[in-house]
Symmetry: C2
Subunit: 225 residues, 2 copies
């Protein structure tokens, strides 16, 4: 028995994605819904991060999740076990979501009673960074197993994101990952960016990440946005 | 002192990529050059795999490598230490290579004395699978740290590839990766596909991978292709 919907989203017909993103941002402002666009390579641990995040924040925030994937429903099935509202979006082969596609997802999810809506974008360190989806913030997850050279190889996603989670930090002893170098590269690309080391399976850094999210959502609601 | 060129490749002007790929394939046939299109997520270990491969095969084959990246030259710098011929291709933001872009890379590399040309495609499990580049074979590298659900989430790249390398197998004890399930999913998507477990830092599975490459190159040369 499925506890979530699967929505086959259509390719957007809008040429001006930035304009569509601004319109969506205004609508979310009226609903007092904060939208986080969470991006990363495949397999960096976005879904596991979200499971831990929902578990930690479920008494503080009403959370809704959109799981965007080319195919399969495994992520929505996982998130549905957390009790959060969730919808699976199938992109029909598209490697990223744009604002029009995100609108379809938000309409499918329903944002009336959602404080924090999270789009788990398609696993891809390149294309999603190029398309605004009406988000309040973009966030990037980088697994330390991917290597410390990734920020400089994929600069745009770090320049666009307000926060970087350096995930799977528990695997540091088994990988050649220079944490200091990676952080320096990230702050060179995007000075002042928040960077947190986390391990979602070992409960490391999650408090700091959840406080960051709570403060961002609270700031939006305080401004009456 | 750089020991490799950096080429800023231009977006292709050709509408029919498959036709361009066929033309390139015919030219490579005349040069007796085998072209492997190697694809994966960012950080799966393509470059480390290539370093180990070049080291193992450098007495048997003349190898040339095209390193495609959005930015940075770190991969070409790494490969250049192996003694193999290498060129860094900057894609100008593009998330994949197509046949026209690959042609520019091959011209920059020079294929006259190359038995095995390898394109290390942009780190991306989605878009590169959609574009033929004139290759003899596509190969996909999946790091076991990315999770065993990836084949079903990114089916096209497995359907398109002749071989899958399941890399970083030395990290199996520290990850929740079901090897049997992953292999079953891969062969469900692409029956008969070659799948090899490797660890390029621990010298595991490399012999089998190198034998596969040698047999593919030899088969092409034998046919007078």
């Amino acid at each position: 028995m499925d506890t979530f919907r699967v929505l086959e989203i259509k390719k957007s017909v809008f040429e001006n994605n930035d304009r569509q993103a601004d319109l969506l941002r205004e609508e979310l402002k009226r609903n007092h819904t904060f939208l986080l666009n969470l991006m990363s390579s495949p397999g960096s641990g976005k879904t596991t991060t979200l499971m831990a995040t929902i578990n930690a924040l479920k008494d503080d925030l009403r959370i809704g999740v959109m799981e965007a994937d080319i195919d399969s429903d495994v992520d929505a099935a996982t998130i549905s076990t957390s009790g959060a509202k969730v919808i699976q979006l199938h992109t029909g082969g598209m490697c990223h979501l744009d604002a029009g596609m995100t609108r379809q997802g938000l309409e499918g999810l329903g944002t009336e009673n959602i404080d924090l809506a999270i789009l788990e974008n398609v696993g891809n360190l390149v294309c999603p960074a190029e398309f605004a989806v009406g988000e309040d913030d973009k966030g990037v997850v980088l697994s330390i197993t991917e290597g410390d050279d990734k920020p400089m190889k994929y600069p745009l996603i770090f320049k666009e994101s307000a926060i970087a989670l350096l995930n799977k930090a528990d695997l540091l002893p088994y990988c050649n990952f220079d944490m200091a170098a990676a952080k320096e590269d990230i702050t060179t690309l995007h000075p002042g960016m928040d960077v947190i080391e986390v391990s979602c399976t070992k409960d490391q850094g999650l408090d700091e990440w959840c406080e960051w999210l709570l403060s961002r959502v609270a700031a939006k609601q305080k401004k009456g946005e």
